[in-house]
Symmetry: C2
Subunit: 359 residues, 2 copies
């Protein structure tokens, strides 16, 4: 009885496997089960009886069958891809982005997703067209945003279209739109001020980004509040573009004051590296003559020639959270129940102390 | 006559478009053409008569129809995705990788592809399992390799399985396997030597990577050949790990020689930054007392505090070439004709002169 069955499946097996390689059908026929059962092995293994499962898995292994990702996508109406727009090459800025990308890719894989990269067109057709094309072609299930700007239009645009997304970085206008994870910039600069106060500094200055930059305003607020709380004197607050040469000339101006600061808190490593250069221009040693702090812990900050005290962003945790926020939302859309409320997460940066404050 | 037809298509249109959004069928029915004709608009527009094409395109625009990427993939047996393994976060190394990723993504998009990111599992299951899973699930059409190592097993492994790939970086053992684009390291260090000779240096040293590192051996060869050709003296050749502290101690050793070099050529910016630190340790000024060159033009090299003369890799062109090599191979597989011979491209790096050689 089994003998006849085995012969029969063998002939089916030969017919099914040879011409086009193993398929769902060739596995199902070889095992004498339905195609749905084989499909369940991949998508709902708990629905398959133990002995059937063992038999089908052995046959899958024997044939070397792998489910076609595109077929799975058509069936589940999912691409299992998360879209991420690669920012243009930084050359000095955006020092944490490569670590973020690794963290996001790793976190996505652990949840059965991959990351699809795209760029914003540089031909003036605007950023939305890239997002729109991917949505239109159903190429991704949702988006991970980064490099968010103060008045970023993407969050509202995606929300309106019910496209799932999660952002690394807040909008500072209407921050309640969408789920995001961000680093608490105000807490970061406040901890730099506390560190300087402990070292005995009583007269501080701040070099920040232009007013209206949400991230810059947030970090500036931390400085203002912490100096006020500790009754420290503020020698000056400068706001300008995030460039080394800008930091260099603003620091030079602060050092020329009748009563210059003994410590300069910077909104970024780049501006702090400019301060470092301005000090050296005058024969001063950072950390001995004037203390300097940055923000980001970019690779340059750790160089022996620089040794910049700075704030390190918990980039692995940020990547993990942003993927979790997005994938929760996708799982949610699938079950068809009402989505969870948007979730917003603030992570604390860590002060990394180097010679620029403690030589 | 046309009136009745129009009413009929209108009612079909209403039925087809409303419940599930526009589909291939809803467009076909609204235009009174076959589904194949609508499909051809996207995949073989030359097969569609001019007036039909205009009519179908107008209807596609009216309904806002976009072909489903998964459906297209099933039909064409293509995912239109190129797999790329994100290297683990560098923190100082791999300074050119974010620029490479942007270049690759941009070049892929211009050819109708996107980049799918994945990581190598860190749990000891080995790098191949990640490639194998993506091939097995038909998640990508081919791979872009980077961070190739001297005895890299991936190229031979992928070749044997007829999986299309192209690499940024050579294997130095059996370099003939597969298509690749790489930067000519020997030409780079040779141009650094020529620059130093022009400045009057006659006694040089080299700090490189361990023997057996293909990239390191190549860059060392350029130094050895160029110093010999210009009859320059070689004060020493050190080979060690790519770390700042290692460069610092090796440079200290070279500077302690009875007859120390007047210039040190380094295989990387990281080792050159170590040299820079060793010079400062002894109160020497790089570029005035001793000249130092690096390789990569990492962001740190351009800092005012550092000013490192170094070699810049043409990373945009490398990204463009590697995508072209891979996509040509894919187009080729599709037509079923024999593939083109593997193509190998060497690009010249550019010497960027800063204060570390010319203060």
């Amino acid at each position: 009885m089994t003998g006849g069955f085995e012969r029969s499946t063998n002939s089916l097996r030969d017919r099914a496997v040879r011409p086009n390689g193993p398929t769902l059908t060739s596995v199902a026929e070889a095992c004498g089960v339905s195609r749905q059962t084989v499909s369940n092995i991949f998508n709902a293994p708990h629905k398959v009886q133990h002995e059937t499962r063992a038999r089908v898995e052995a046959e899958i292994a024997r044939q070397g069958y792998r489910p076609n990702r595109s077929a799975r996508s058509l069936r589940t109406h999912r691409s299992h891809l998360l879209g991420y727009c690669v920012p243009p090459p930084p050359r000095g800025g955006n020092a944490v982005m490569d670590g973020f990308l690794h963290a996001v890719t790793d976190a996505a894989e652990r949840r059965g997703y991959h990351v699809l990269l795209f760029t914003q067109p540089l031909d003036g057709t605007g950023p939305r067209s890239a997002y729109e094309a991917l949505i239109g072609h159903r190429a991704v299930d949702g988006f991970i945003l980064s490099d968010t700007t103060t008045g970023d239009g993407r969050q509202a645009w995606l929300s309106k279209r019910n496209v799932p997304f999660a952002a690394f970085g807040r909008r500072f206008v209407e921050p309640e739109i969408g789920s995001w994870v961000d680093v608490d910039g105000a807490a970061g600069t406040a901890s730099a001020v506390a560190h300087l106060a402990t070292l005995g500094h009583r007269r501080l200055a701040f070099i920040g980004w232009p007013i209206g930059s949400g991230v810059g305003d947030d970090r500036c607020r931390g400085f203002v509040e912490a100096t006020a709380a500790a009754s420290l004197e503020v020698a000056g607050i400068e706001r300008a573009e995030d460039r080394i040469d800008v930091g260099r000339s603003l620091a030079a101006r602060l050092l020329s004051l009748t009563d210059p600061p003994t410590a300069i808190v910077c909104v970024s490593d780049l501006l702090a590296l400019g301060c470092d250069a301005a000090l050296r221009d005058r024969g001063l040693t950072p950390g001995r003559d004037i203390a300097v702090t940055g923000f980001d812990d970019s690779p340059a900050a750790g160089l022996p020639a620089v040794g910049l005290t700075t704030l390190r962003q918990p980039i692995d945790r940020a990547g993990e959270h942003v993927v979790r926020l997005l994938v929760d939302r996708l799982a949610d859309t699938r079950t068809g129940t009402a989505g969870p409320a948007d979730e917003q997460i603030l992570l604390e940066p860590t002060l990394v102390v180097r010679t620029s404050t403690t030589r």
